[in-house]
């Protein structure tokens, strides 16, 4: 008989109660882990973003255009290394259910700003020479079976071409892969020159500028100088780092981090109450046994340790099963629905967080029983005064 044998046997003394509590812990950590995976997918792009890259758009909104010559003016500012531009196409393939992230970009230098897109040199050179060429992600190529040289018709929900149609014709010129697993491999890029030449209206305008600043330049002062340059024009600008820009875009839909935090706080608080109540009940039921063990020479500390390990076992088992189940679900989603949530995954740091939370919860849940154990008066518990 070992100390941990006693902990183990005591834990499973009331099997039904143990498993019901364990399931509640499991559900809580399943929810927490799943939401963390989704949050990781949404924020992966943010943390992957180069902090030396800036996005400049119209001050009012991204739907307002900037003049294409804005690029040259920004390029002339101190601290700026490279400037390119892009416009949102709003594309889909065959029908609107197959939405695609299609962007018209300055073909001269856009991919110099975004080295995370790995494009074979030959293909990139070919794309620059092909006016109707598109660069597509590997995942997209795999999904639709598109190969280099394939003619691909894409439609825009925003931009009509000169022939009065929303259908545009493209040729697959290059296929990119990403440096990072979490990156989106479903994007489509094509030449802004083709876009400008083909569209029926809003020529010589762009949706936003992408600017890379020099390594030694001060980010804030470059941001200020760009916005000051256009402050008194018809198109005042708003410049942010790429990280902030993507985060703001994501937050337009939902502030996932905040939702997760609120859910975690609510779930964790409820969980603590449930487990705490279980442990208090456990100790109350074992009052006589605890007193007997004290009489035998067990210190309050060793009895409290025993309760701590029981809490840890209960919480650890629930959290382990919950997190691993969520991990499997997220893995499944990652494989099957990568288009929808690229980068969905659970990181090692998440499992570390779960481990820390379990330990904190175990300490908290042992605290109240610890007071009860400390207060046990052996003589009063085991025998009346006679």
């Amino acid at each position: 008989m070992e100390f941990f044998t006693l902990v183990w046997r005591n834990s499973f003394r009331k099997k039904m109660r143990f498993w019901l509590t364990c399931i509640s812990v499991m559900v809580a950590f399943f929810l927490f882990s799943t939401l963390s995976g989704v949050n990781h997918a949404l924020t992966a792009n943010v943390s992957d973003s180069n902090r030396y890259r800036l996005i400049t758009s119209h001050k009012i909104s991204l739907t307002q255009s900037l003049a294409i010559n804005t690029q040259q003016k920004v390029a002339a500012l101190a601290g700026v290394k490279l400037v390119s531009y892009a416009s949102w196409f709003g594309g889909y393939f065959q029908n609107e259910k197959n939405q695609l992230a299609v962007t018209a970009v300055g073909h001269e230098n856009y991919f110099e700003l975004f080295p995370e897109y790995l494009i074979p040199k030959q293909q990139l050179a070919q794309w620059k020479k092909t006016r109707t060429g598109i660069v597509i992600g590997q995942a997209l190529a795999d999904k639709y079976g598109w190969k280099i040289g394939d003619q691909v018709p894409l439609s825009s929900s925003i931009w009509m071409n000169k022939s009065g149609s929303f259908n545009w014709s493209f040729t697959v010129a290059a296929i990119y892969k990403s440096k990072k697993k979490s990156a989106d491999n479903n994007k489509v890029f094509f030449q802004h020159a083709y876009f400008d030449q083909g569209r029926a209206y809003a020529k010589n305008s762009v949706s936003w500028l992408s600017t890379e600043i020099k390594a030694q330049a001060n980010v804030d002062s470059v941001i200020r100088s760009i916005d000051q340059l256009f402050a008194h024009t018809n198109s005042p600008t708003r410049t942010t780092t790429e990280q902030v820009f993507i985060k703001e875009q994501a937050q337009q839909f939902v502030d996932m981090a905040m939702v997760i935090n609120l859910v975690v706080i609510a779930v964790f608080f409820t969980l603590l109450l449930i487990v705490c109540n279980t442990m208090i009940q456990t100790i109350r039921e074992r009052n006589n046994e605890s007193a007997m063990m004290k009489a035998l020479g067990f210190s309050s500390i060793s009895l409290i340790q025993s309760i701590y390990f029981e809490s840890l076992l209960l919480l650890g088992l629930g959290a382990g099963i919950g997190s691993l189940t969520a991990g499997m679900l997220i893995n499944f989603i990652g494989q099957r629905f990568n288009d929808f949530l690229p980068g969905i995954s659970l990181t090692q740091s998440h499992y570390v967080t779960v481990f820390v939370l379990v330990n904190i919860a175990a300490v908290f849940c042992s605290a109240f029983p610890a007071f009860a154990i400390k207060r046990i008066v052996i003589s009063e518990t085991l025998g009346g005064k006679s």
Binding site: M1, A291, S299
Partner: protein, 234 residues
């Protein structure tokens, strides 16, 4: 010369609060139990028999006065020191056995040995020997719910003696048992006193049980005697 395991209660005062009232249980109480005695403490309920037992075992502290086992005073020990002292010196047997239902008879008897430096094998050997002494070897793998009341009490006695304490404190150990089983338990206690020299203090209401003791103290008359002595002295 004073024996190392004599139990000495000197000028003990013990009172406790019950609502607004202070209940005095013992007032300048003195008692010495010699090492190797089997003492039966008898008397009506409410006289403080169990309280005396708890004081001797370090489960309770006197309001004032001295409690000593041999030369070791225990009334002024801190909780942690008392806990350690109890583990090494005292075995308890209560009316309710308080065996852990999740452990077998063997596991329950091994429980106090978890606190000792003995390894697993040694603990098992000690527990097996204790169970053999109380005649429960063949029930070592049984759980408390599979044992009768008498068998449970035998296991509780094995648990009390497994760490080889010098003193056994028994609070109505046969209170829940039928006559035949009670006699078996009492014979076992007498044997532990006779053959192994254990000092046993047993609180009981049962005159038959008291017959197994080497000294019977009727607390009511003992206290009257003491008061006379105190009055005579003053």
């Amino acid at each position: 010369m004073k024996n190392n395991n004599d139990i000495t209660l000197k000028d003990i005062n013990k009172s406790y609060q019950k609502g607004d009232n202070t209940v005095v249980v013992h007032d300048h109480f003195n008692l010495t139990i010699n090492s190797g005695e089997f003492v039966a403490l008898m008397g009506p309920s409410g006289l403080g028999k169990s309280t005396l037992l708890h004081l001797m075992g370090g489960l309770d502290q006197p309001t004032s006065g001295e409690v000593a086992i041999g030369t070791q005073r225990i009334d002024n020990l801190k909780e942690a020191q008392l806990t350690k002292w109890r583990a090494e010196n005292i075995g308890f047997v209560f009316q309710s056995h308080h065996l852990l239902p999740v452990l077998s008879a063997q596991g329950n008897v091994e429980l106090p040995l978890v606190l000792t430096p003995l390894n697993k094998k040694e603990r098992q050997e000690h527990a097996s020997y204790a169970l053999k002494l109380v005649g429960m070897s063949d029930r070592s793998k049984h759980y408390p719910k599979e044992l009768s009341g008498g068998q449970e009490q035998r296991v509780a006695i094995a648990r009390a003696i497994v760490s080889d304490p010098n003193i056994l404190l028994c609070d109505e150990p046969t209170g829940n048992l039928d006559r035949k089983t009670a006699n078996e338990i009492l014979e076992l206690l007498a044997q532990l006193n006779r053959d192994f020299g254990k000092t046993i203090v047993m609180v009981t209401h049962d005159n038959k049980a008291a017959e197994y003791a080497t000294r019977v103290i009727n607390l009511e008359s003992y206290m009257v005697e003491q008061n006379k002595c105190v009055a005579g002295a003053s």
